[in-house]
């Protein structure tokens, strides 16, 4: 079994809902708490397993905003595990999930240096490294209904841009999506062989704006001038 996520960059709206759901679930989970520093101060910061960045791809007028959620890729060749001197970092044989044993970690940061995806963050309060667990305390919880045995980020996504499943099973939803939508991995050249896969935005016809009617006359010019002058 090789569990991981598929993230659809076509439908992600960048709402950060997955990050908030992740924080909410995991702060009381097996690797909790996800400490916040200065939560009500000037520069609030803290530990997150999932972060969303926003990019502009292409040049105007053929540009597009891409919302980009990133969490642990649960790599096949995870150097974060091999570089760990204490053995706190490990990759589970049975499902490929990469975890940190909180009782063994000495907080040397070395695994975070080895991770190209920024998936590992040191909890300065607890002094140990923390990372996405793929909600291991949720996906195997038989107390939950079957439909709820998924990572918190996947269940919460309002745009249905996140999928969870077994990449080793060619007929799983994630494997089919990767096949049908030409799923790709991030930064393949570093050779970590990540499990999480991204679906590129679908090709769409750009909507032309040249023919949009412009207001003419003096009133139109005044309006245009006012719009340019007044800074909101």
């Amino acid at each position: 079994m090789r569990l991981g996520l598929v993230i659809d960059l076509d439908t992600c709206v960048g709402c950060h809902g997955c990050a908030v759901a992740c924080k909410q679930w995991n702060t009381s989970g097996t690797t909790g708490a996800l400490t916040d520093y200065r939560p009500y101060g000037r520069n609030p910061s803290g530990v997150w397993f999932n972060r969303i960045r926003h990019y502009e791809v292409g040049d105007y007028p053929n540009n597009k905003t891409i919302n980009f959620p990133m969490s642990c890729m649960h790599c096949e060749d995870a150097d974060c595990v091999t570089v760990c001197p204490t053995g706190a970092s490990y990759k589970r044989k049975e499902d490929g999930i990469v975890l940190v044993d909180q009782d063994k970690c000495m907080g040397c940061n070395y695994c975070s240096w080895a991770c190209p995806y920024g998936a590992r963050e040191l909890d300065r309060e607890a002094g140990v490294m923390k990372k996405c667990t793929l909600c291991i305390d949720r996906i195997y919880d038989e107390e939950l209904d079957e439909i709820d045995r998924q990572p918190a980020c996947v269940i919460t996504c309002p745009a249905h841009a996140r999928y969870f499943g077994d990449f080793d099973d060619p007929n799983s939803e994630v494997s089919q999506l990767v096949r049908d939508r030409a799923g790709y991995k991030l930064m393949p050249e570093v050779g970590y062989n990540p499990t999480n896969t991204y679906l590129p935005p679908r090709l769409t016809q750009p909507i032309p704006t040249d023919d949009v009617r412009k207001e003419g006359g003096l009133a139109g010019k005044v309006k245009e001038w006012a719009n340019k002058t007044v800074v909101r």
């Binding site: 972060r51 091999t82 140990v128 050249e189």
Partner: protein, 313 residues
Amino acid sequence: MHPALSVIIFTVSSGAGYGLLMLMIGLHIFGFAPDMTENELLTGGIIGLALVAFGLMSSTFHLANPKNAWRAFNRFRTSWLSREGVFAVLSFPFALLYLFAVWSGGAEVTGFMQVVGFLTIVISLLTVFSTGMIYGCLKTIRQWNSALTPANYIMLGLMLGAALLVTLRNSFNGDIALASSMALVIIVIALVLKAIYYFWLKRVTGPTMKTATGFTRANVRLLDVGHTAGTFLTEEFGYQPDRTIVTLFKVLVFVLGFILPGMIVFGMTDGDASSSQAIGAVILAFIGIGLERWLFFAEARHVVNLYHGAQNT
């Protein structure tokens, strides 16, 4: 990369300690310095081990959870950090056995002394090599992921050790002609190696924002990084040194670290020196290599910066 003072002190100090141990024991057990006295060997050995111990202690200061530091020996099979720790700890009993042999039997070279001394040299070399490989093995930092990294660590450790050895020989009124000639050769090799590294550093490139995001057929720009204040990632990897400081430090590395100590030991190759000259060379070399180590970290660009807006590494 954020240049952590504890790691700079650790790598410079333990490298210098191992350099001194390797060169001093090497000269002694292979019979190149028959005038070495028991006191000189014991003093040199204790200084070397003290520098190593000081460096190792300093390295534990950057641990967020030092109570688990003893577990760092667990992953010898895969982790260079673990190997470094194992070799470092292993070097102590052999070095101490060697020093015990000198202390109990005098400076006369014996077979036992040769065996434990040779093993100390081998383990010291492995330790410094492992220190370099801690950084050299990281595929995420293109500026480190090269054979030049461990080579530099070994040569710079030997160089500081050689400068220390000249001072040691001089303060015990030993023959410094051989020690200073050796120091000069090592300084020249270290200088050439460091110059090669800095030239290579200008050309080396790693992944780009395009491969990091997968949008390889268009320009990609960061619109919003998604967090309001800094994160662990920006604090640890986002450090950007001032270009003028980098240039200034590079000049200082060559002048203080290599050229001035090189000129001073060159003046000693005729076997004549004052103690202030020898100590001056050591102090200058330590300052220069300290700055070199700062640059080593400050100039490294981790690929995670690509997700925070950097176009290339």
